[in-house]
């Protein structure tokens, strides 16, 4: 996650506290895992504003059924379905599971 984006996430989390949920739209497993880790346990590259800052925010991917079920079907079709078909959904969600597992193990 870029430094500017990390700063933005930190600002929103600071301003709104515990009500913040992070929704990812990442295109592959690696970026999903990295971004999830960044907003939960802190910046793994120790380069950005979230270095050593474990925000512990709940994190979801837009392809997860829990998210899809909250969205009107026509909106999902227009906004997400095409990308879901073109990307490796299973690998992305596996990356997210891995990040959650790692976060649970260290907390």
């Amino acid at each position: 996650m870029g430094l500017e984006d990390q700063a933005a996430v930190k600002r929103v989390a600071d301003e709104h506290g515990s009500g913040v949920v992070v929704l990812l739209g990442t295109p592959d497993a690696e970026s999903t895992q990295t971004l999830a880790q960044t907003v939960v346990a802190g910046d793994p590259s120790y380069a950005g504003p979230l270095a050593g800052v474990p925000l512990g925010l709940p994190v979801f991917h837009v392809f997860e059924p829990e998210v899809r079920d909250q969205v009107p079907i026509d909106v999902y079709e227009a906004q997400v379905a095409l990308m879901e078909m073109s990307l490796d959904r299973d690998a992305i969600l596996a990356g997210l599971r891995e990040a959650r597992r790692a976060a649970a193990a260290t907390s």
Partner: protein, 484 residues
Amino acid sequence: MPVIRAVSLVLAHVPSLVRLGSKPLRVLREVEQPIEYLRPHLRDWNAARAYAPNQVFIGNVGVDELAARPTPWHRHPIAGAQRFGPDGEIMPEDEFLGLLATCDGFDLLALTGEVADRARSTLDAHPVVGRESGRPAVPAGVGTAVLNERIARHRAVPLVGVDGRLLGAMLPGHEEDDTLTGQVLLENLACKATAALALRHLLARPGAIAATDVRYVINCGEEAVGDRYQRGGGNVAKAVAEWAGCARATGSDVKAFCSGPMHALMLAGALVRSAMFDDVVVVAGGSLAKLGMKFQGHVKHAMPIVEDVLAGFAVHVARDDGVSPVLRLDAIGRHEVASGSAPLAVMKALYSEPLERVGLTLLDVDRFSLELHNPEATEPAGSGNVPLNNYRTLASLAVVEKLITREGIDDFVRTRGMPGFSPTQGHIASAIPYLGHARRGLTEGGLTRTMFAGKGSLFLGRMTQLPDGLSLVLERNGARPSTA
């Protein structure tokens, strides 16, 4: 209908200028000797020339040949790779510095005597931009003491070679104008020089139009040339036309982020179709600011910084000659304001809707040229394989439209797409690098129809949240009676 008469695509290998890219400048601000930091990752010209994606860019290697080559490409150089190709060349830095100096009409860029002398002797013998091409001479060099004085007291930007030696310095154009700093002017000059090189290549083709017959030039490079009262005032097109000897031409700049070149080609086609001009040239130069944009990923993965080249192109749009590929003005795909930013709507507006308008489907297009960023530049930085993702999205559109099944996505991508091979030079990477291959395929080769699509991230300029996009269909001349 207008046709694409000729295409040129050029690269200038500029490892010393990587340090002056926007990202390296910002990230290495605190580093005392940035060039020392970058040096282990900077390639020499031989490596850049033998780099397979660069050879595809100038037309020596086909896109299917690239797809079949072993990866990573930077570890598998092409044996006997040539500097010149059917579409252009890969110019080495010592010559390009001279070319830059010839483009500077205000004596702001000064090279050391040694650099200037070497550039002059090689550049004067250049087959396309040699002395007899009529271009300005490479100016005499300046002593190191003078350069150091300009750097220390007059805010000149030092040009430092990969070996750490001072090559030259770029003075600001005005003491108090942020739009005319040495850095900004160097970016503008790099854009002008690469566009000018591409234009001279275009004019040097066998059977090419005479320079004095070019009547209108549209520049779609990204640099906003201007001053403090007119930040993007322009007009690079005219500056390039002047340098290249197009004495009877005028021109203007067209800007739309990375979709600029598509708009420019459409407008060029419209000017020809309307009979306003018989011959219009579209040009664009490279983006110095984008050099080394993903360098941190390359450093992290102990690989060469492959964003070490500036790119430029020129396209001659002309009246139908019965041979050249036709630019179908009846099948322009437009992202309209009301199209919004939802992926499905954007994809339909750019691809299926314009084809449907002329009775075609996605399966009637042999090859699609989209954003062609080299994945070896983007993947190490975590930005993914941009072309592959876009081709898969396009194939998914074909599934939605029931043209192929979901199982057919990979096959669609392989046969109608191509690997990314363009340097990450924004507007140029946006579909344009395949234009030379397409022109050959649509005349001498087996292609019938190709589609080019550029997308622009307008939101980066903070004036609208909208993206932009425009697509064009190029067709073999005579492929359809309606195109005559």
